[in-house]
């Protein structure tokens, strides 16, 4: 029973780290980026190649996967995304879904379409008994990493100078520019961090979610559910939503296997009927 809860939390945490970058770009920068999963996939493949082919230790590969996806995000933001910020949402959707298809084809062509597996070190395959609950080391690591990420993101956004500049740049880019804030730099950094987090999520989650070229398409819907249910106003919303969805999904599959696949959607529908703007949503600002 508690093991199910634990597995649900771990699954929710993976969802969170994958989707929080999207919550940031969609909620704060008002950019619809359906290609978010492509960055997660990039991070996952980077980690798989580093660990399996180059023998990089798994724990070292995680930050490297973050960096790789962040760099990729930075380059693409400067080259491509910078041009669509001011465009209508439909343009952004079409643009980013196009990127997804290109990413899928590119990975398929270069890496093949089979599932990738990241070789985990032996100490992450252990299992403990904590207070009578059977717990896997790997899932424990996921929870620890994701909790740390969530906490630091929330602190950075609320209490640092960068956070307040970012919020200012989002609320009114023109005035922010007038006050000497380098808006495009801030957007670029934010986008890169969001992509990097997706990459980290891809690397961490590969073991649980699997990793193949269709990853961005398969999980796009999950990212969007997290962001919709959580509301786009804060990291906290996405965090809570991920936890609720993760636990609902795992518990649903455990207790009512036949219905399990739908639990996550039932929760989404329920929440959205109750609060159409999401758990922590603000009423649309523009």
């Amino acid at each position: 029973m508690l093991t199910v809860l634990f597995d649900g939390i771990a699954y929710g945490m993976v969802l969170f780290i994958l989707a929080c970058g999207l919550a940031v770009t969609l909620g704060l920068m008002n950019l619809v980026n359906l290609a978010h999963g492509a960055f997660a996939m990039a991070g996952g493949y980077a980690a798989a190649i580093m660990v399996n082919r180059w023998g990089v230790p798994f724990l070292a590969a995680l930050p490297l996967a973050f960096l790789f996806a962040a760099l990729l995000g930075l380059v693409l933001e400067r080259l491509l995304y910078a041009h669509v910020y001011a465009r209508p949402h439909l343009d952004q959707v079409l643009f980013s879904i196009g990127l997804v298809f290109m990413a899928v084809a590119l990975v398929d062509y270069t890496q093949g379409s089979q599932q990738q597996f990241i070789q985990l070190p032996a100490f992450l395959r252990l299992r403990f008994q904590i207070a009578g609950v059977s717990v896997g080391a790997y899932r424990l690591l996921i929870i620890a990493v994701c909790a740390a990420v969530a906490l630091s993101l929330q602190l950075i956004l609320s209490y640092t100078r960068f956070g307040s500049r970012l919020r200012a740049a989002v609320d009114d880019p023109r005035v922010a520019r007038g006050l000497g804030i380098n808006v495009s730099l801030i957007f670029a950094v934010t986008f890169a961090v969001g992509s990097g987090l997706a990459g980290l999520g891809g690397a961490l989650g590969a073991e649980i979610l699997g990793l193949d070229p269709t990853f961005p398409l398969k999980f796009m819907i999950y990212f969007l559910i997290v962001v919709t249910v959580g509301g786009t106003a804060s990291i906290g919303g996405a965090f809570l939503a991920s936890l609720v969805l993760g636990i609902a999904d795992v518990a649903g599959k455990y207790y009512i296997p036949a219905f399990g696949a739908f639990a996550i959607y039932a929760v989404m529908i329920g929440v959205l009927i109750w609060r159409p703007q999401g758990l922590f949503g603000r009423v649309a600002t523009r």
Binding site: Q115, I208, A261
Partner: protein
Amino acid sequence: MQLNRRGLLGLSASAAAFAIGTPRGRAADPVKVGLILPMTGPFQSTGRQVDAAARLYVQQNPAATQGRPVEIITRDDAGVPDTTRRLAQEFVVNEKVSVLAGFGLTPLALAAAPIATRAKVPLIVTSAATASITQASPFVVRASSTIAQTASIAGDWAARNKMGKVVTLVSDYGPGIDGEAWFNKRYTAGGGTIAASLRVPLQNPDFAPFLQKARDESPDGLFVFVPSGMGAAVMRQFTERGMGQSGIKLFGTGDLTDDDILNGMGDPALGIITSHFYSAAHDSAVNHAFVDAFGKANGGLRPNFMAVGGYDAMGMIYRALEKTGGNTDGEAMVDAIRGLSFESPRGPIAVDPATRELTQNVYMRKVEKRDGQLWNIEFETFPAVKDPANTKA
């Protein structure tokens, strides 16, 4: 273009010469085999294996009978049934192929079957494994196996080895449900008890809740049938959950430990028991030669059960042409294929004349490490297993 009378005469003369020339030339005309396979997309591994094996066969046997070469044309359907059907039609109408072969998945084979019936062209299934395919057209012959064939043997074996209680975990799609049904039938007939039958959605990101459920039943064994890529995920989470240590045996049909990706699964795969018709580690001279030649021609790739299906499909075509004396008429060829029996890399096989299914050995295998690589090592043989689904008892 202006044609004067002399030019016109010349033209018709050469046309006449051509028309007369063709019957004489026919002896050397290649027999065309149209391979339709998923060469891209999630099932490209199937396509790659079958195509490579079929080409290897042709390379090893340049002329079939009476000096007629065999030509393989491969087209990619990317796993989409509409495309399979269109390609089959193009093959029959434009390329005038004598045989259609390939078909990675059941829906793909079913999409092409009506074309085979109408064009009276033999259709040899190298991969798809649902029992109903051979009933879809009298021109369908199978060179792989049915799920019933392998899953029922897994059931027999589990019952015979005193596994008192088993949980089944299958993907919720046609082949998965077939596997579950046939396993259950034979296992319970042998005196076993099914503790729970779990069906996992096909698009399932996390097996954790299902495996936990299975664990809580504390069965003697966990029978798994999932599409081949997902098998590895099940295995790893099974190990991660420490289910092996708590005395649960993970077993299934051979799709679980596909030779093509077995090495990438790593140590969690060790000790897993599967029932299947082909292992690259099968100990016979024919198989050793096949594995060596296949590896040499494809940069060290290991053939899997898909490859052996492609190889044997070509074997059937060659032997059928031998029997018909080079006649490529569809009905004559299917008649010639019925009742064929020969030694394949997988062991002795025979085409059941009644069902057009293969009668073949099904082996119980265990994953072991040999020379640093993982192999499915056969430890028990169920000889000459007929397909139980289409055979009327």
